[in-house]
């Protein structure tokens, strides 16, 4: 279990996260939603230790993350930032092999190579395995990034907007891969999401962040309400149900909406 308690983070004296608490159980997909600047990415970076929180604890299966070495942390939690182009040519295989870095000392073992090959096969990336990463389309790059995270074989995954810039089919594929892996291998994932419908469809739990604070937490149908969306996003929306998941249809921005005024 990943449990986050009373997390505070300030950047240059501006409070970015305030008293954030989250519990994530294995086998669960949790999405963090919220407007731009709500603190979604910062929260993920705090958990993975890229930035250090000012207050609060992060416990991974009962162990305090702040006391763990980066290398050991990398064997428990993996993180995929939003896809970024690399400046130097590297093959797709090599890019995924990076996920094995926490286990490699001098050279990758046969097992490392096989893990990478298996992940590539299961994600239909075999054909591009030896191609240059920079030559791939945005959707394929995102899949490769995801493949790297899977190759890392950690119990917990943190994914920052895994579906941004993807077409409809790639969005569905990526989300299905994530929830499929989580259910199959008993992992747990935290996703920072912009697309409320995808988040509702694929998550067990949704955390709605607003201005660094948790506005509400719960199952998708509990969180995705007309009132919540109005006060957090400042948008009038109607919510239908389709296939048992809430489906949000934004109508128009609220007129007298002011940011962080709640």
């Amino acid at each position: 279990m990943l449990s986050i308690n009373g997390l505070d983070f300030r950047y240059k004296n501006i409070s970015v996260l305030k008293d954030v608490g989250i519990e994530l159980h294995k086998g669960e997909v949790l999405s963090i939603v919220g407007p731009n600047g709500a603190g979604k990415t910062t929260l993920l970076k705090c958990i993975i230790g890229i930035v250090k929180q000012d207050k609060g604890t992060i416990l991974i299966d009962g162990r305090d993350a702040s006391g763990m070495k980066r290398l050991n942390l990398a064997k428990c939690i993996s993180y995929a930032p939003q896809a970024s182009p690399s400046r130097f040519p590297i093959s797709v295989f090599d890019a995924v092999l990076m996920g094995r870095r926490p286990y490699i000392v001098w050279k990758p073992s046969q097992k490392d190579l096989e893990v990478v090959a298996d992940v590539l096969r299961s994600m239909d990336l075999e054909d591009v395995a030896l191609r240059d990463f920079d030559q791939l389309s945005g959707g394929q790059k995102q899949k490769v990034l995801l493949a790297r995270v899977f190759a890392q074989e950690t119990d917990y995954l943190l994914l920052d907007e895994p579906t941004s810039n993807l077409d409809l089919r790639h969005q569905m594929e990526v989300m299905e891969m994530i929830s499929g892996m989580v259910k199959k291998k008993g992992m747990a994932a935290i996703l920072a999401m912009h697309d409320l419908n995808l988040a509702s469809r694929f998550s067990d739990t949704i955390v709605m962040l607003n201005a660094g604070k948790i506005f509400c937490t719960g199952e998708p149908s509990q969180v995705m309400t007309v009132e919540n969306i109005r006060s957090v996003y400042g948008v009038e929306a109607t919510i239908n149900e389709s296939n048992g998941h809430p489906h949000i249809v934004p109508v128009r921005p609220v007129r007298e909406y002011r940011l962080s005024d709640n």
């Binding site: 980066r70 990398a74 930032p81 130097f88 040519p89 870095r101 030896l130």
Partner: protein, 340 residues
């Protein structure tokens, strides 16, 4: 047998054979270099002289030609390595000992000792001072990058500023120096391998070879840095440490490559690029291969420099650019699809 991982192994094998090819080429060029020179000593005689204990041939080979060849190889390796490391840790394809002003810093340190004199320990002083000023410039770059962000533009602009600063400081020494000192400095600025002996070689070799095991161990971390700081950190890389120590080691290598031979431009920038175009960006192979490419380039340039217009010797700094620039432009124009 697993299909993709087998294919990947084949690819890795080809990268390895490229390195072996480079070693062979380097050896060949070294043999040719050994047989060329002002005195008419052919391939066979010079090779035989390698194993003689006395005689004129022995003196020519061991005192004149071999030190030059060995130094050319060491310097080329050093520049190729330093360039690769700077490019990796600053995640910047334009980084090199020269474009970052680090070579100019090292040069200034060396010139300073040449002008003020170092007495009997002058070799060590030159090397030490070159390292000190190389380190100073690297930390300036790193500090500026920390404050203003690791963008290509910031770092290269800062590097150019530092390069000008140290170049003009060196010129100032030149202006203030005696005729004799001026001659020595000018000579140094052209880049020359003709004044090195075994003592200088051993100092340079230590400065260049000592960091190699660490750098090779870090080749994974260098690969990860190219995926971005955040990914690297999340994968367990101690980014700050690798970057800090990497800069120190690359500065040591730069100082070692430059302090006795002067300005041999451009190798540090192009060797990594040439190598990357051929075998790709995996630092496990890129580091050794780019060192070897640097060595081949410098040795070829020096051999041409002293044979083309014999008995006149064209300074190596000039020849490297004559050979390196067209070759690099050719590779640049040839569109890269895959790297093999």
């Amino acid at each position: 047998m697993n299909n993709i991982s087998q294919q990947y192994k084949n690819l890795t094998g080809r990268k390895l054979s490229f390195i072996i090819l480079l070693v062979t080429v380097l050896f060949g060029v070294a043999l040719i270099a050994l047989s060329q020179g002002a005195s008419s000593l052919g391939v066979k005689d010079s090779f035989a002289a390698l194993f003689q204990q006395t005689g004129l041939a022995h003196a020519i080979v061991w005192k004149l030609r071999l030190p030059r060849i060995v130094m050319a190889i060491i310097v080329g390796c050093g520049l190729g390595l330093a360039g690769t490391v700077f490019q990796a840790i600053l995640r910047n394809p334009l980084a090199s000992p020269y474009t970052l002003g680090i070579a100019s810093g090292a040069g200034f340190g060396a010139v300073m000792v040449i002008v003020f004199g170092g007495g009997i320990y002058s070799e060590y002083l030159i090397a030490g001072n070159a390292f000190f000023f190389a380190l100073l410039s690297s930390f300036l770059i790193l500090g500026i990058a920390r404050l203003k962000g690791f963008t290509t533009e910031t770092m290269i602009l800062a590097g150019i500023a530092i390069m000008f600063l140290f170049s003009s400081l060196s010129s100032f020494f030149q202006y203030m120096g005696t005729m004799e000192q001026v001659h020595e400095i000018v000579f140094w600025f052209f880049g020359s391998l003709s004044k090195v002996g075994w003592k200088e070689i051993s100092i340079a070799a230590v400065m260049i070879l000592l960091p190699c095991p660490v750098l090779l161990k870090w080749s994974w971390d260098f690969n990860l840095l190219s995926a971005g700081d955040e990914s690297a950190k999340a994968l367990g890389v101690n980014v700050e440490k690798v970057r800090m120590l990497g800069i120190v080691l690359a500065s040591l290598i730069t100082a070692g490559a430059i302090c006795f031979t002067g300005v041999i431009g451009f190798i540090g920038l192009v060797s990594p690029h040439i190598t990357r175009m051929i075998i790709g960006g995996d630092h496990r192979f890129l580091l050794p291969a780019s060192a070897l490419v640097g060595a081949v380039l410098v040795l070829t340039a020096d051999t041409l420099g002293r044979t083309l217009w014999a008995p006149q010797v064209i300074p190596i700094g000039i020849v490297t650019s004559f050979i390196g620039v067209p070759f690099f432009l050719y590779l640049l124009m040839k569109k890269r699809r895959e790297y093999w």
